[in-house]
C-alpha cells in the first residue's frame, strides 16, 4: 500500500516511474541523467557523483543512458529536447536530476549551473528549467515515464532570491508515470558533505542494481535506507500512476514474481480504492487477484473481500436510484461480511430510516455501538436518542451501557495473531534476496581472471614460445638437482637481423666444458651434457647455474657469428 493523502503537501521528493508489463511488451529504455555541481553561487559537492552512479546503475539495467554534467540552461534544454525526440510509444523514459531545485508559485524548476537570479521572481522562471515542461514533453510520448528528482538539498540560491527551496507536487504528471522526490514534506535532503554521494542517490543506485525488484520496491528500500541513515530526517517520497509492474532487472521467474507481487499490489490498490469508495475499480483489482489464482492468503483475502465490495457497489447503486429497500439489503449484507464496516452500517441505517423501518435501523445502531469507534458510538447514540420517542427498542438501547468492543483478533479477519504470515514471508524472501554480489566480489579478489586459452601451446604455434615453455617445465623438473640453463637476454631478439636468403648459417657457437659430465645443460627445451657445442643465434645470453631451484651463479656471454665461445661449467 502506498501513502496518498499527505503527498499533496510534499515539498521535495524523488520520483521513479515504473511500468509493469512483460519483457515482450517492452520497447527501448532511455534515460537522461543530469548532475549539477558547479553553480556560480552555492556550488554542490556530490550532485555530479550522484548522476554518475545513477547513470551506471541505469546502463547496467539496460537503459541507453545519457549523462550530462554541470548543465547550463542551454545544455539542459538541448539535452531534454534530444531525449524526448528519441522516445517511441513502447519505450520507457527515465529522467534523473541531481542539483538545486526551486519552486515558484507551486511550479517546480531545476536550476542550471549558470543561473544568476534576476531582480524579479517572474524573470527567474525564464532562466530556470521547468519540470512541468518536461512532464508535458513526456505526456503521451513514451509508454511510461520515470522522473527522479534529487533536488531538495539545502538551497542557498532559493534563500537568497526569495524562492522556495525544494519542489512542489507536480500537477501535470503524465499517465503511466512514477515520480520520486528525494525527501518528504517539510524536509530538506542532505547532500552528505562527508560522503561522495547523497544518501538518496547512493541508496537508490544500490537498489536499482539489485535484481528482481519492482520500482516500488526499489523506492521503498531506498526510503527505508535513507530514513535510517538520516535518523528519520529525510524520507523519500513517490507518486505513481503506473498500472503495471516495472523492473529495472527483470526477475528470472517473472511469471511467479508477477503473480505474487502483483497480487499484493492489487490488494493494496483495492484497499485505497475502497477507502475512496471507488467500488468498481476496487472490484476490478480484487477480481484480477482471483483470476490470476495468486494462491495463499492473498487469494483468500480477495475471495473474502469480493462479496463485500460487490454488496457496497450494489448498495450504492440502489441508493442512488432511490431503491432504499435494495440499498438497505445490500448494506446489511456488506455489514455482515465485514462487521467493522461502520460506514456501511450507517448507510444501512439511513436506508432503513428512509423506509421507516426503525427496528432494523436500531439493530444496526446497536451493532455500531458494539464495534464502532467512540465517535461512531456517539453518533449512533444521538440517532437512538432521536428515535427513542417513537420506538421503545431505541429507548431500551439508549438505557443500555455501551457494550464492550470485540477483541482485536476479531477485528482483523484473515490475520492469525501469534502465527506468522507464511505467504507474506515468501514474498519478502522473493522480493529481497540476500545480496550475493559482495561475496562474489570478495572471492573474485582472491581468484585471478580466467586466462585466455593457450592456443600456441595447444596447437603447436610459435616454436620459440613452445621451446620457452618446455624450458620452464624442464627447469621445474630439474629443480632438485644442479644444472645449467642458457637463455637469450631480452636485448638479443629485438635486434637480431637474419639473412633473408642463402643457406649459410649465421650462427655462433657456445662450447661448454666441465669435469662433471653429469650436469644437465638446458637450452631451448633440450637437455645437453658436457662437453657440448651449441649453435646459437648471435646475441647476448645468460648462463645460470641452478642448485635446489636457486640461481647460484649467472654469467653473460655474447655470441657472434662464426666465433665460438667457451664456457666452463663448474659446481
Amino acid at each position: 500500500m502506498l501513502p496518498t493523502a499527505h503527498r499533496i503537501v510534499l515539498l521535495c521528493a524523488l520520483a521513479a516511474a515504473t511500468a509493469a508489463a512483460s519483457p515482450q511488451e517492452e520497447g527501448n529504455r532511455y534515460s537522461l541523467v543530469i548532475g549539477n555541481n558547479s553553480y556560480i553561487s552555492s556550488p554542490l559537492q556530490n550532485a555530479v557523483n550522484d548522476a554518475r552512479i545513477i547513470d551506471k546503475a541505469l546502463k547496467d539495467s539496460g537503459f541507453r543512458s545519457t549523462l550530462v554534467e554541470n548543465a547550463s540552461q542551454v545544455a539542459l534544454q538541448s539535452a531534454v529536447g534530444e531525449f524526448l525526440s528519441k522516445l517511441g510509444p513502447n519505450d520507457t523514459a527515465l529522467f534523473f536530476y541531481a542539483g538545486h531545485g526551486v519552486q515558484i508559485e507551486n511550479e517546480n524548476f531545476l536550476v542550471p549551473v549558470d543561473f544568476e537570479a534576476p531582480d524579479s521572481v517572474v524573470a527567474a522562471k525564464f532562466r530556470l528549467f521547468s519540470v512541468a515542461q518536461l512532464l508535458d514533453g513526456l505526456r503521451n510520448r513514451p509508454k511510461r515515464s520515470i522522473v527522479i528528482l534529487d533536488a531538495c538539498r539545502s538551497n542557498p540560491i532559493a534563500q537568497q532570491k526569495s524562492l522556495t527551496a525544494g519542489l512542489a507536487q507536480p500537477q501535470n504528471a503524465p499517465n503511466e508515470s512514477y515520480i520520486v522526490f528525494s525527501t518528504g514534506p517539510g524536509q530538506t535532503a542532505a547532500d552528505n558533505p562527508n560522503g561522495r554521494n547523497s544518501y538518496f542517490s547512493e541508496a537508490l543506485a544500490v537498489e536499482i542494481a539489485k535484481p528482481g525488484l519492482t520500482i516500488e520496491q526499489v523506492v521503498n528500500h531506498t526510503r527505508a535506507t535513507v530514513s535510517s541513515e538520516t535518523s528519520g530526517n529525510q524520507t523519500p517520497w513517490a507518486l505513481s500512476s503506473l498500472k503495471a509492474t516495472f523492473y529495472f532487472h527483470t526477475p528470472a521467474n517473472i511469471e511467479a514474481e508477477n503473480t505474487s507481487s502483483m497480487a499484493a499490489k492489487w490488494l493494496a490498490d483495492a484497499k485505497h480504492l475502497e477507502q475512496r469508495e471507488e467500488w468498481d475499480d476496487a472490484i476490478e483489482r480484487i477480481t484480477e487477484i482471483i483470476q490470476k489464482k495468486a494462491g495463499g492468503s492473498l487469494q483468500q483475502t480477495a475471495e473474502r473481500r469480493i462479496g463485500y465490495l460487490t454488496a457496497r457497489r450494489d448498495a450504492q447503486a440502489a441508493f442512488d436510484k432511490g431503491d432504499y429497500a435494495g440499498a438497505a439489503k445490500e448494506y446489511e449484507a456488506a455489514f455482515k461480511l465485514d462487521p467493522f464496516a461502520i460506514d456501511a452500517a450507517f448507510e444501512g441505517v439511513t436506508s432503513y430510516l428512509l423506509q421507516d423501518k426503525l427496528d432494523q435501523a436500531i439493530v444496526l445502531l446497536h451493532a455500531i455501538r458494539v464495534r464502532g469507534t467512540s465517535e461512531s458510538t456517539a453518533r449512533a447514540m444521538k440517532m437512538l436518542d432521536e428515535l427513542k420517542a417513537v420506538n421503545p427498542l431505541a429507548a431500551q438501547e439508549t438505557r443500555a451501557a455501551i457494550p464492550a468492543p470485540p477483541p482485536v483478533e476479531e477485528m482483523f479477519s484473515g490475520v492469525r495473531f501469534g502465527m506468522p504470515d507464511w505467504d507474506g514471508s515468501r514474498r519478502v524472501l522473493a522480493s529481497s534476496p540476500v545480496d550475493e554480489s559482495r561475496f562474489v566480489k570478495d572471492i573474485e579478489a582472491t581468484a585471478p581472471p580466467v586466462p585466455p586459452p593457450a592456443e600456441n601451446q595447444e596447437k603447436g604455434g610459435d616454436p620459440t614460445a613452445q621451446a620457452a615453455a618446455t624450458q620452464t617445465e624442464l627447469s621445474l623438473m630439474l629443480k632438485s638437482i644442479f644444472h645449467v640453463e642458457i637463455s637469450p637476454t631480452g636485448e638479443t631478439r629485438d635486434l637480431l637481423i637474419k639473412r633473408a636468403t642463402g643457406g649459410a648459417s649465421n650462427a655462433g657457437f657456445l662450447q661448454l666444458e666441465g669435469a662433471d659430465k653429469q650436469i644437465p645443460v638446458v637450452y631451448q627445451g633440450q637437455v645437453h651434457y658436457l662437453p657440448s657445442k651449441l649453435a646459437l643465434e648471435p646475441g647476448k645470453y645468460e648462463i645460470k647455474s641452478i642448485q635446489d631451484g636457486q640461481v647460484v651463479a649467472t654469467q653473460q656471454v655474447e655470441i657472434t657469428a662464426g666465433a665460438p665461445q667457451k664456457f666452463e661449467v663448474k659446481r
Partner: protein, 424 residues
C-alpha cells in the same frame, strides 16, 4: 504471544454483543482493551489503507498505551505495515523486540530467523539474536507445529509442509550466522544439512559455494556455484547474480586448474547432482605443470626423468612402502649414472653410482659376474636391473644387474701382443 490458539470467535462475539453490564465488563477484560480509546485507535488502523498512515497510528497507539496487553499484537501490525513498505530493517527490529520480550513467540522467532540474512551491516548483537531465534525455532519445532496449533482451514499436509519449511529456514539462518561469525566449517555443515533436505535452493547452494571458496577449496566451490547458477524456475537466483555466480565458478575452476577446459563437464555434472561423485577429480594447475615438466624431461632425457621420479618417491614419507610395493617387484627402467667407486678395484662386482650428480652416492649396482676390468670414477654407464634393497638414511638403492644390461663399462685394456722372436 505464545503459539496458543486464539479465543473462539463465537464466544468473543457473543460477549461483545451482550448488553448486560456485568457480562460486558467481563468481555472487556477478556478482549484486553485498556479503554475504548485504545479500541478506537486500533479500529482506525484496521480501516486505514496507507501503511504509512497505519504506522503513524500504530506509533500513536504505542505512545498512548505503551504497556497495552496487546503489545505483541501491535508489533504484528507494525510488522505488517513495514512489510507493505518493504522496510526490512524495521521489520527485523520489530521481530527482535517480539522475541526479546517473549523468547518463544513464534512470530518474533520466525521473522527474526527469516530476516537475519537480509540485514546489511548487521551488528554482532543482532546477528547473535538472529542465531538464537533460529535455534529456538528449530529446537521447539514440534511444539510450534503440534497438531493442536494448526490454524483452522489448513490441512494436515499443509501444516506439515509449513513445519518442514520453518526447519529449513532455521538451518539457513544458522548456517548464515556461523558463516558471518567466521566459522566456515560449521557453516559448511549447516548448509550441507540444509541441502540434504532441499537440494533445489539455489540460494543456499550458492552460499555453500561461497563458504567453500572462502576455505580455498576451489573445485568443490565451483561445483556448488555452477550448480546454483544452473537452477531455473522457483528458487532460482536472480539473473544478474546467476550470471555472476556462473562466472565465479569459471574463475575458481581456472584458478585451480589453470584454464577452463573441462568446466563444461563439471557444470553438466553439477547441474545433475548436489555433490560431486566420490571419484570426481580435477587436475590442479600445479599438477598439470608437474606432469608437463615430467613429459618434457622424459623427452629430453628419459633416463634422468625416470630416476628423478624414483628418487622423489623413495625420498618421500612413504619411501619404504614405495620400494617394497612398487619398485622391488618390477624391473627398473633404464637409468644412467656416473661411477663414484667400483670394488674390488681389479674385478669390480659392486659399483657405486651417482645418478643426480656425479658425486652423490645413490645407487649400488651389484653385478652377478664381476667385471674383469676396472672403471674409474666419472665413467658414465646406463643400466637396467632389479631393485634389491633400499635404505633411506643414508640414501642408498641396491640394484642387481647382469653385465649384458650395463652399457658404457670400459672394455678391458687390450694387452700388447708379446714381441715376436725369431726362431732360430
Amino acid at each position: 504471544m505464545s503459539p496458543k490458539s486464539p479465543r473462539p470467535a463465537s464466544f468473543r462475539f457473543g460477549l461483545a454483543l451482550a448488553a448486560l453490564p456485568l457480562l460486558a465488563a467481563a468481555a472487556w477484560a477478556a478482549a484486553g482493551w485498556t479503554d475504548r480509546n485504545e479500541y478506537d485507535l486500533v479500529l482506525k488502523i484496521r480501516v486505514e489503507a496507507s501503511p504509512q498512515k497505519q504506522l503513524e497510528l500504530l506509533n500513536q497507539w504505542k505512545a498512548s498505551y505503551p504497556k497495552s496487553e496487546m503489545r505483541q499484537v501491535r508489533r504484528e501490525l507494525f510488522l505488517s505495515a513495514y512489510q507493505a513498505l518493504d522496510d526490512i530493517p524495521h521489520m527485523y527490529e520489530t521481530a527482535l523486540e517480539m522475541s526479546s520480550e517473549e523468547p518463544s513467540n513464534l512470530v518474533g522467532v520466525y521473522w527474526s530467523t527469516l530476516l537475519t540474512p537480509e540485514i546489511k551491516g548487521i551488528s554482532k548483537e543482532m546477528l547473535e539474536a538472529g542465531g538464537k531465534a533460529a535455534r529456538q525455532l528449530l529446537s521447539d519445532l514440534d511444539t510450534y507445529f503440534a497438531p493442536g496449533q494448526k490454524p483452522a482451514g489448513l490441512t494436515d499436509a499443509d501444516w506439515q509442509k509449513q513445519k518442514v519449511a520453518a526447519a529449513l529456514l532455521a538451518r539457513r539462518t544458522i548456517g548464515w550466522v556461523e558463516w558471518q561469525d567466521g566459522d566456515l566449517a560449521a557453516a559448511e555443515t549447516s548448509f550441507t544439512e540444509y541441502l540434504q533436505q532441499d537440494s533445489k535452493s539455489a540460494e543456499v547452494t550458492s552460499w555453500l559455494g561461497f563458504v567453500l571458496a572462502y576455505q580455498k577449496r576451489q573445485i568443490p566451490a565451483a561445483w556448488q556455484l555452477a550448480r546454483a547458477s544452473s537452477m531455473t524456475g522457483d528458487g532460482a537466483l536472480p539473473e544478474v547474480w546467476r550470471r555472476q555466480t556462473d562466472e565465479l565458478a569459471d574463475r575458481l575452476y581456472a584458478a585451480y586448474h589453470g584454464g577452463i577446459d573441462g568446466i563444461d563437464q563439471l557444470k553438466t555434472a553439477a547441474a545433475a547432482s548436489a555433490v560431486p561423485p566420490a571419484d570426481f577429480q580435477v587436475e590442479s594447475a600445479e599438477g598439470i605443470r608437474q606432469r608437463k615438466a615430467e613429459d618434457a624431461l622424459n623427452l629430453a632425457d628419459p633416463e634422468l626423468a625416470a630416476w628423478l621420479r624414483i628418487y622423489k618417491q623413495l625420498s618421500g614419507a612413504d619411501g619404504e612402502k614405495y620400494f617394497a610395493e612398487t619398485l622391488k617387484p618390477a624391473p627398473l627402467p633404464q637409468l644412467r649414472g656416473t661411477v663414484v667407486r667400483a670394488t674390488p678395484a681389479d674385478k669390480p662386482s659392486e659399483i657405486t653410482l651417482g645418478l643426480s650428480s656425479a658425486q652423490t652416492e645413490e645407487v649400488v649396482l651389484k653385478v652377478s659376474v664381476p667385471y674383469r676390468s676396472p672403471a674409474g670414477p666419472g665413467t658414465q654407464i646406463s643400466f637396467k636391473g632389479n631393485a634389491d634393497s633400499f635404505s633411506k638414511e643414508p640414501f642408498r638403492l641396491t640394484v642387481l644387474a647382469d653385465q649384458e644390461n650395463i652399457v658404457g663399462w670400459p672394455d678391458p685394456p687390450v694387452k700388447a701382443p708379446p714381441p715376436r722372436t725369431k726362431k732360430k
